[in-house]
């Protein structure tokens, strides 16, 4: 008998996934049903089954699904689970709203850059270019898809919204796994990876929108999208257009501030004894504060070289914690004080008194979702395709805009691993694992890094550098241009003088012992550049990377962070 348990005990162990109140009522009956599905009546065979068989994965999955539905309670569940269910549904909707507002921002700026609908030309700082390459185009479409997902969920098509959200996070997950398995991402969980995992958590949280979830008003949810855009992004655009970038927090900071403001706005209701049912919103805000706080903490690693940004980030964190503390006591009371959940929506018993007409769902929200979806797809495809002339002339390279995560340029020295040294590197050097089949390297930074908070990037291009004399064709390299404000050029030139990086793409074989190389860090991830051309007076310089995926990832992170 494996593990000393028999089949009944194994089923009871699986059923521990279910809430206690439910187990008290149904566990014995469920165990009997599970065993009935196995046993044959033959004593010898049944003894073997009891001793050696295990619950199947589909059975475990069915119990896990039931547990999720009960813990994230809907109609006719205990108040405690109903409060958690409502809070998770509200929090998931809020995070989805954030994704949708970001998508709307991409959509608006794309339409504006292409001067659709007779719009006047936008300020140069708000121009966006067409995404270059397949992956940037995919991410561009995904950004816009979140609008459709939010609207689909808001109008009540929960299952469709869950499926679309799962599709939307697939490219990010695939890129994350590829980066992990190919060694492109040395740190197992950098901020970018956390962002993808947060999205995965969001899709899982969307299971709270199950069939027993109480229906809610559609129009307030739908109106939250334009309202969120107007309240959050229009001020951001105004700051971008007027050049007051110093007032803009980065994205995690903005999340912290928004959640803190929501907590402050809700606090009077949370502290009022007359306000019934405030606990669910307090619980929702506490959940959101936890998510925003974790996001803020893990993105601090990108600012380790900038004490000012660290202080600003910590101040945002303190504000968030203080605001969340105002509603946390009410959130703790929510589990008992939440009003009783409604009965099952439109119970069958209630339905018998109604006529037997087929009720058609209201058409307007669905039609709105379809129109938004169609508009999103058309604009996404149009903005990804530089050949659709009816949409107006393609935008030129934009001027630098504020980056959510600053770009840190630094000079590095690399050399191969040294035998006999602890970790393979001399003191003061850090070991960096190589890709599959590639030897690791030691590296250390030299000089003072320079932090760039505004930049614009071009699409990724590939090229084959001229071969060294007497050698065959050099491998293809990938790169793109970065434009920084003219004021940053002297600092760049100081940290990366023309002599430190080859004035043009070097051959990969030139990267040998103690080679000086520039490196770019964004949001805690570092890319060592193969080549770096000195910035022009206009602030434009080219960077070259060894692989297409590295170039696309860096370009995407910079483009997406604008």
């Amino acid at each position: 008998m494996s593990g000393g348990l028999d089949l009944e005990q194994r089923y009871r162990r699986v059923l521990r996934l279910l809430p206690g109140y439910y187990r008290d009522k149904w566990e014995q009956d469920m165990v009997t049903a599970f065993l009935d599905s196995w046993l044959t009546g033959d004593p010898y065979e049944d003894e073997c089954i009891i001793g050696y068989c295990k619950p199947t994965w589909p059975e475990v999955a069915s119990v896990a699904g039931l547990a999720a539905r009960l813990y994230l309670g809907g109609a006719a569940t205990p108040r405690r689970y109903f409060a958690w269910g409502q809070a998770v549904r509200n929090a998931a909707l809020a995070v989805l709203l954030m994704h949708a507002v970001l998508g709307l921002e991409v959509l608006v700026r794309t339409a504006w850059s292409r001067r659709l609908f007779g719009l006047p030309a936008p300020p140069a700082s708000l121009l966006v270019t067409s995404p270059g390459g397949v992956w940037p185009a995919v991410y561009h479409v995904v950004n816009i898809a979140w609008i459709v997902i939010f609207v689909t969920l808001a109008v009540g098509h929960h299952r469709t919204a869950r499926a679309l959200a799962a599709l939307a996070i697939a490219p990010g997950l695939a890129a994350l796994l590829q980066a992990q398995f190919t060694g492109i991402m040395p740190a197992p969980f950098g901020p970018w990876a956390w962002w993808v995992l947060f999205s995965l958590a969001l899709v899982l949280a969307m299971t709270a929108f199950h069939s027993d979830a109480p229906p809610s008003a559609r129009w307030p949810r739908l109106l939250a999208l334009p309202a969120g855009y107007l309240l959050v992004y229009v001020p951001v655009l105004a700051l971008l257009a007027t050049g007051n970038l110093a007032w803009l927090p980065d994205w995690p900071g903005l999340c912290c501030i928004l959640v803190a403001l929501a907590c402050l706005a809700h606090a009077p209701r949370a502290w009022s004894r007359q306000a019934g049912g405030s606990g669910v919103w307090s619980l929702t805000l506490t959940l959101l504060a936890a998510v925003a706080g974790v996001y803020r903490v893990i993105t601090l690693s990108g600012y380790l070289s900038d004490p000012h940004l660290i202080k600003v980030s910590l101040a945002e964190l303190v504000i968030l914690v203080a605001a969340a503390a105002l509603v946390a006591p009410d959130a703790a009371r929510a589990q008992a004080a939440t009003p009783a959940p409604p009965p099952y929506p439109g119970t069958i018993a209630a339905r018998r008194v109604q006529d037997m007409r087929h009720q058609r769902p209201p058409r307007l929200p669905s039609a709105l979702a379809s129109v938004l979806a169609a508009a999103g797809i058309v604009l996404a495809v149009a903005s990804c395709t530089g050949h659709l002339t009816p949409l107006g002339p393609g935008a030129t390279l934009p001027h630098p805009h504020h980056l959510r995560s600053p770009l840190i340029l630094e000079d590095m020295r690399t050399q191969g691993l040294v035998a006999g040294q602890p970790g393979g590197c001399p003191a003061g050097w850090v070991a960096l694992s190589g890709g599959p089949g590639q030897p690791g390297q030691c590296y250390r930074t030299t000089g003072t890094p320079v932090t760039i908070t505004s930049a614009a990037v071009s699409p990724v291009v590939s090229f084959r550098p001229p071969p060294p004399p007497g050698q065959g064709a050099a491998p293809v390299q990938y790169g793109f241009s970065i434009t920084v404000p003219a004021a940053d050029v002297p600092a760049l030139a100081a940290v990366l003088p023309a002599g430190s990086g080859p004035p043009g793409p070097p051959s990969a074989s030139a990267v040998t012992s103690a080679t000086p190389l520039p490196a770019i860090s964004v949001a805690g991830r570092t890319w060592i550049l193969l080549g770096f051309a000195s910035p022009s007076a206009g602030g434009e310089f080219d960077v070259t990377l060894a692989s297409r995926s590295q170039a696309l990832q860096l370009q995407h992170m910079l483009a997406a962070s604008g």
Binding site: E59, S62, V63, G65, L66, I348
Partner: protein, 112 residues
């Protein structure tokens, strides 16, 4: 507000109980047989449906019987459950009649 339509699983479970009380796994087997194997209830899903139907007052425990040392609990339809099942069956039959009429080739009705 219009009531939610009865789910397919709930309809099959109520139908399985229409001709007499059954225990949990008995319902699973009867639903599979009724649907020609198209509907395979998982135990987790079955007890989600049973709890919901019990809360709605459409089914109730009937009795418990010992079988090979284990207690099997049987469920039966309540009066409300029987009425709800009848109404759902009428609704589905009416829908099926409409579907058949629309699928009938043009001219068949006049000829027939």
């Amino acid at each position: 507000m219009a009531g939610k339509p009865m789910t397919g699983q709930a309809f099959f479970v109520l139908t399985a109980l229409a001709d007499g009380p059954r225990h949990g796994y008995g319902i699973v087997g009867d639903v599979a047989e009724m649907s020609g194997g198209r509907v395979e209830l998982k135990i987790g899903g079955l007890y989600g449906v049973l709890e919901r139907l019990a809360v709605e007052g459409l089914i109730e425990p009937d009795r418990e019987e010992a079988h090979d040392g284990r207690l099997r609990r049987y469920y039966r339809l309540t009066r409300d459950g029987r009425r709800a099942l009848g109404e759902e069956a009428e609704l589905r039959a009416a829908t099926a009649r409409v579907v058949r009429a629309r699928l009938r080739p043009a001219g068949t009705e006049a000829a027939g």
